[in-house]
Structures are given as structure tokens and as C-alpha cells.
């Protein structure tokens, strides 16, 4: 049973560019959440998707957007990249019932030059 998978593993971009990160949830899960983890810090909630709609959003600018597909997989898009966007981006999947833990993928390490 595959867990949460993310691609790519690593990515290097320059300021001003745009990036798309991808996530496939654990089998059976219907909710996908995205987190940004800066070096030495805890993950910060970006947004969450359920039934192909953004259900909740954290304190991130509109440059961060996402999408969920009918098969529950998801994408995170970041436009106009800034140096401060360099971080590990984690995808987590779960059932909507929050009594279950979220399962995290290995993340995408994004470096902005």
C-alpha cells in the first residue's frame, strides 16, 4: 500500500519563476493538505483540499495556489518565486475525519537562487 508520494524530490528555481509540485495521497484518503517547512522550523499550514475545492487556507499570499483532481491527487503552484520561498514543501493526506493522523510525504526541497 503506497503512502503519500511527492514529486519532484528536489527543485532549483530562480527568483520570479513559477513552480508546480505534485502529490498523490495515501490510498483511500480524500483530503490533501500542504505545508511549508523552513529549515529548523515546524511545518506551516498553506491550504487544504477536499472534493476538489480549497477548504481552508493559512497565512500565505495568493502567489500560492493549488488544485485537487478527481483521483484526489493535488498540485501546489507558486508564482513569482522569492528567496524566502526556499523550504521543504510537505504534502499530507488524511480522511476528512480529523480523529485520524495526517500522513506525510517525503516532501519536495525547493531552493530559490
Amino acid at each position: 500500500d503506497a503512502g503519500v508520494t511527492q514529486s519532484p524530490t528536489h527543485l532549483i528555481k530562480t527568483r520570479g519563476q513559477q513552480v508546480t509540485l505534485r502529490c498523490s495521497p495515501k490510498s483511500g484518503h480524500d483530503t490533501v493538505s500542504w505545508y511549508q517547512q523552513a529549515l529548523g522550523q515546524g511545518p506551516q499550514f498553506i491550504f487544504q483540499y477536499y472534493e476538489e475545492e480549497e477548504r481552508q487556507r493559512g497565512n500565505f499570499p495568493d502567489r500560492f495556489s493549488g488544485h485537487q483532481f478527481p483521483n484526489y491527487s493535488s498540485e501546489l503552484n507558486v508564482n513569482a518565486l522569492l528567496l524566502g520561498d526556499s523550504a521543504l514543501y510537505l504534502c499530507a493526506s488524511s480522511f476528512l475525519d480529523r480523529d485520524q493522523p495526517q500522513h506525510f510525504g517525503d516532501g519536495t526541497r525547493l531552493s530559490i537562487l
Binding site: 493538505s33 505545508y35 522550523q41 511545518p43 481552508q56 475525519d97 480529523r98 493522523p101 495526517q102 506525510f104
Partner: protein
């Protein structure tokens, strides 16, 4: 806005010793999670605490939740080197209703020395 604080931020301990990591949060919530993260790796779920007074144990780790004090503890018994990692607590954003929006603490870096 919900804030989650952990202490200590760094813990160096000898094998065989006991210690406790504390997680305080600022607003009402009745769902708290503990995760472990190894260097360069993702987060692994350790415990899910769903009510006041909840206590969960797995091996040398035991977690508890006091919703009235807005405090959770992760107790380490007879530490071994394999427990070296960063430990995060995460609080669900709201009490009542499903959110799955987790606010993470700053993390506690645990280093167990032989």
C-alpha cells in the same frame, strides 16, 4: 491566533535517562498530535490524543493531554540512541468540527548520547 510552543527546543540526554518534552498551546483545542522527524526525512505520526486526560504509550514514549491546562507532554523513559530525532506537537485548529488544519510547535531536537 493559535500558537503552539514546545520546550525545550534542544535536549541532549544520556542513554538510560528519563525526560519530558512540553507542548503548550494558546487557545482551546481538543485534538493534539505528536510527530517524529528524522534528519532529511518526513514526519512520522506517533500519537493522536483526542480528549482531556488522554494517555498513549508506545515503547519508551508516553504522551498525555490536559485540555484545561492546554498542555501536552511527551515522556521519554530510559532513552536509547534510536530515539534521537526532532519531535513536533501539532494542534488542530478548532475544538469541535473537523478541520485537519494543524498548527505545529517549533520542535524539540532530541540527541541521545551513549
Amino acid at each position: 491566533e493559535l500558537k503552539v510552543e514546545q520546550n525545550p527546543l534542544f535536549l541532549s540526554m544520556q542513554e538510560g535517562k528519563n525526560y519530558t518534552i512540553y507542548c503548550n498551546y494558546s487557545t482551546t483545542s481538543d485534538r493534539l498530535y505528536w510527530y517524529r522527524q528524522d534528519p532529511g526525512k518526513s514526519l512520522e505520526s506517533l500519537f493522536v490524543l483526542l480528549s482531556n486526560g488522554a494517555v498513549k504509550q508506545e515503547g519508551r514514549l508516553m504522551a498525555s493531554l490536559d485540555t484545561k491546562a492546554r498542555l501536552s507532554t511527551l515522556h521519554i523513559t530510559a532513552a536509547v540512541h534510536d530515539l534521537s530525532a526532532t519531535y513536533f506537537c501539532a494542534v488542530d485548529m478548532a475544538a469541535g468540527g473537523a478541520t485537519n488544519k494543524l498548527i505545529f510547535g517549533t520542535g524539540t531536537l532530541l540527541a541521545v548520547q551513549p
